[in-house]
């Protein structure tokens, strides 16, 4: 029996058209004041961060191809969704990434060499979120972090760290996940808990159309934004390649969350221009025509067109390009200089408190290894 045709279309919030024209629609008009409140420096920063992200992406993919990284996770095409939402967060907010949000971490102050250490096989994460802009560790088991974010937001409520009426100090949480991860049970359980406890939280789905090789249509028959409504919270679909929509809708959602008005969900419709990871081969499951369609909707090109129309100088774009190249080159140098971990790392932090098995096995390995070093033991 053929599936019945149903109309599940959802309005999409877009401020900037693919041609780079600021043209608010009925859905996006209410968000315009949030953009008008941004000064040139803030607007230029969006461009800079998107450009750095793309340049870094290229450099890191090359590092992987040269055998210097075990894996690289490209974000080419998703820069607007990531940069806009990251800038929407305030310093006191906590951000729980999946594993593709490299520029989000950088915007929060994380040195990206930490990410390369992870992908080079030198660490399992390792950074302290408290010292890196409240940007939490990458989570490789899909959607696990949605629950951690929800619990963290519950803690903010219990602490009285939110909903006091002061947006300068009231805190909120944003959690990133993808279209594939929405099918995980944890993603639904997180929505249940968030709705039940009315957590100060934004669920930010980057729908990049593909869960490795499986299209989003296999994950959901209807727009993912509807997952919000189904669990009792607002759900908004945005043009994820429009950095202004990404910023404005996320900003609005976070401000409502910190104000005590509960959680919400954003579906950013975007596209993964590159492979899922460097282990993937997208030519096996998608067409050139599809990639071309999305290339015409490139987030950086349209934003550059708009900035140029506003009078940004050629010198500005040249400076950003030079800076992006230098960031990428510097990162490459430092990645190659990363020290290999020592074997103490195997045992050192498995437990917070002393553990007899760790002590015993570390001592055994030391003795065993030193047996190969000219009888040094």
């Amino acid at each position: 029996m053929a599936a019945r045709e149903r109309d599940f279309t959802a309005p999409t919030v877009q401020l900037l058209t693919p041609e780079g024209v600021l043209r608010p629609t009925a859905e996006s008009e209410p968000y315009l004041p949030l953009i008008e409140a941004l000064d040139d420096t803030a607007l230029e920063r969006f461009y800079r961060d998107m450009t750095i992200s793309r340049r870094m992406d290229l450099a890191c993919a090359n590092l992987q191809r040269q055998g210097q990284l075990a894996l690289w996770v490209p974000s080419h095409g998703q820069e607007a969704a990531q940069v806009g939402s990251a800038h929407a967060a305030r310093p006191q907010d906590h951000l729980f990434p999946s594993y593709r949000e490299h520029i989000v971490g950088m915007i929060r102050g994380l040195d990206p060499v930490n990410i390369l250490a992870l992908l080079r096989g030198a660490t399992l994460g390792g950074w302290n979120p408290e010292e890196n802009g409240n940007f939490h560790l990458y989570t490789l088991v899909l959607a696990s972090q949605t629950l951690h974010a929800t619990g963290y937001a519950m803690g903010m409520q219990f602490d009285g760290a939110t909903a006091t009426g002061d947006p300068e100090t009231d805190a909120a949480v944003i959690v990133y996940y993808g279209d594939g991860a929405t099918s995980q049970g944890d993603a639904s359980e997180a929505l249940v808990f968030a709705s039940s406890y009315q957590t100060p939280q934004v669920f930010f789905i980057q729908n990049n159309q593909w869960a490795i090789s499986v299209p989003v249509s296999r994950q959901s028959r209807s727009p993912l934004a509807g997952r919000g409504h189904g669990f009792g919270m607002p759900g908004v679909r945005i043009d994820g390649n429009d950095v202004l929509a990404s910023y404005a809708v996320t900003r609005q959602s976070l401000e409502e969350a910190r104000g005590g008005h509960g959680p919400s969900l954003i579906e950013a419709v975007t596209y993964r221009m590159g492979a899922h990871t460097t282990a993937d081969d997208p030519t096996k499951y998608r067409t050139d025509g599809e990639v071309e369609y999305w290339a015409e909707r490139d987030p950086i090109t349209r934003y550059r067109t708009w900035l140029e129309g506003r009078g940004a100088s050629a010198a500005f774009f040249d400076e950003v390009d030079a800076e992006a190249a230098e960031v990428a080159a510097d990162l490459r140098r430092r990645a190659l200089d990363l020290p290999a971990p020592t074997r103490e790392k195997i045992f050192a932090h498995v437990y917070s408190e002393p553990h007899p098995l760790m002590k015993e096995e570390a001592a055994w390995l030391d003795a065993y290894e030193s047996g190969f070093e000219g009888g040094a033991a």
């Binding site: 399992l124 994460g125 302290n128 408290e130 803690g155 944890d186 249940v192 932090h349 437990y351 917070s352």
Partner: protein, 363 residues
């Protein structure tokens, strides 16, 4: 542990097992805060854990209880009875009905500085949370290079002997003992339960706290002033000279019964209560085996790839020259828990333990 408790313990245990109609007056659990009423009290394990949880909630405002039906109802075993009334629904959380959600949000709360204590309603219902426990909770300290602790306690009523339906009588502790980053303990008496739950909450590592549900109701002495030993210590609870038997949780009372029967037949059994399943404190066990030369390991769990297998292998390695017989294991069978009408044949009994003891003595 005071000598007085040691002496009282065996008798209380046997009496409680023999009859459910224990007429000893049960003191109320919240006596723990009134100094004039501390000392040694007679409590069931359920009340002892309740008292331990209450003391922990009072001592540290970051301690939270989370679980299904643990609020006004007090949990299906009433272990949290009265706590939501005293501490409110921000400290004692009746959560949505989703085990992965409970553990996952507890992880987030622990990242925020809380010390969540989770109740999983029954042993067989922990598996929806298995992913969060093993891939997240157990590894987050390591992944944070030690800058983050995960002080989360997961209480699990476990084991058989209660005649219940499928998924309500299981012993899944080995799955968690097999997972690096977790600590796993199981008390066998009200006294240990009162102290071990508080020590587990005070630990900065995640602790799986397995509560032998068939032992919730028998009463025993609880010294409210002295723990007696650290969380991860094992101990000899009955001295003997011929054979050592070791177990944990509800199995300990089975071992004590077996020792009583054997004593009447002229065999002297030494009983070791493991208490901690990860890490395992081998000191008292190895010392015992060096004295007796024989060891029987008993457990309610499946025998294949179990805590008992691990102990048998380790004792064989470390006490090889003391052993007069191979280490023998007594377990349930390697099948799913059968319909409850068959549980007495499925679960190790004192007779099954003694059958192994006899075999050990024949070598």
């Amino acid at each position: 542990m005071s000598a007085r408790i040691d002496e009282e313990r065996s008798a209380t245990d046997a009496a409680a097992t023999a009859t459910a109609a224990d007429s000893a007056p049960e003191t109320v659990a919240d006596a723990s805060l009134a100094p004039e009423r501390r000392g040694v009290q007679t409590l069931s394990m359920a009340k002892a854990i309740n008292a331990g949880l209450r003391d922990a909630l009072r001592a540290d405002e970051k301690v939270l209880l989370m679980g299904e039906d643990i609020g006004p109802l007090g949990g299906v075993f009433r272990v949290t009875e009265g706590l939501s009334a005293e501490f409110g629904d921000k400290r004692v959380l009746d959560t949505p009905l989703a085990e992965s959600g409970i553990v996952g949000t507890a992880i987030g709360l622990a990242m925020r500085g809380y010390r969540p204590v989770i109740e999983i309603q029954f042993d067989g219902f922990i598996f929806p949370a298995f992913d969060q426990i093993t891939t997240q909770l157990a590894r987050l300290t390591l992944r944070h290079d030690g800058s983050l602790s995960m002080p989360v306690v997961i209480r699990v009523p476990y084991g058989g002997h209660i005649g219940s339906i499928e998924h309500h009588q299981e012993s899944p502790e080995a799955y968690f003992a097999h997972t690096p980053g977790l600590r796993v303990v199981s008390p066998s008496s009200p006294h240990d339960a009162y102290w071990m739950i508080q020590e587990a909450i005070a630990s900065n590592d995640p602790v799986l706290f397995f509560e032998p549900k068939s032992r919730y109701w028998p009463k025993g002495p609880v010294d409210l002033d002295h723990s007696g030993m650290p969380l991860h210590a094992s101990r000899v609870i009955r001295q003997g000279t011929d054979v050592t038997v070791v177990g944990h949780g509800a199995m300990v009372s089975t071992l004590l019964q077996a020792a009583d029967i054997a004593a009447g037949e002229g065999t002297s059994i030494e009983v070791v209560d493991l208490r901690s399943l990860s890490p395992i404190d081998y000191g008292p066990l190895l010392a015992s085996v060096q004295r007796t030369g024989r060891l029987v390991v008993a457990q309610e769990a499946y025998g294949f790839v179990s805590i008992g297998s691990e102990i048998a292998a380790t004792v064989a390695e470390r006490a090889f020259y003391s052993l007069e017989a191979p280490v023998l294991r007594v377990s349930s069978f390697d099948t799913p828990f059968p319909p409850a009408a068959l549980e007495t044949e499925y679960l190790p009994s004192p007779d099954r333990v003694l059958e192994a003891v006899d075999r050990a003595l024949k070598y």
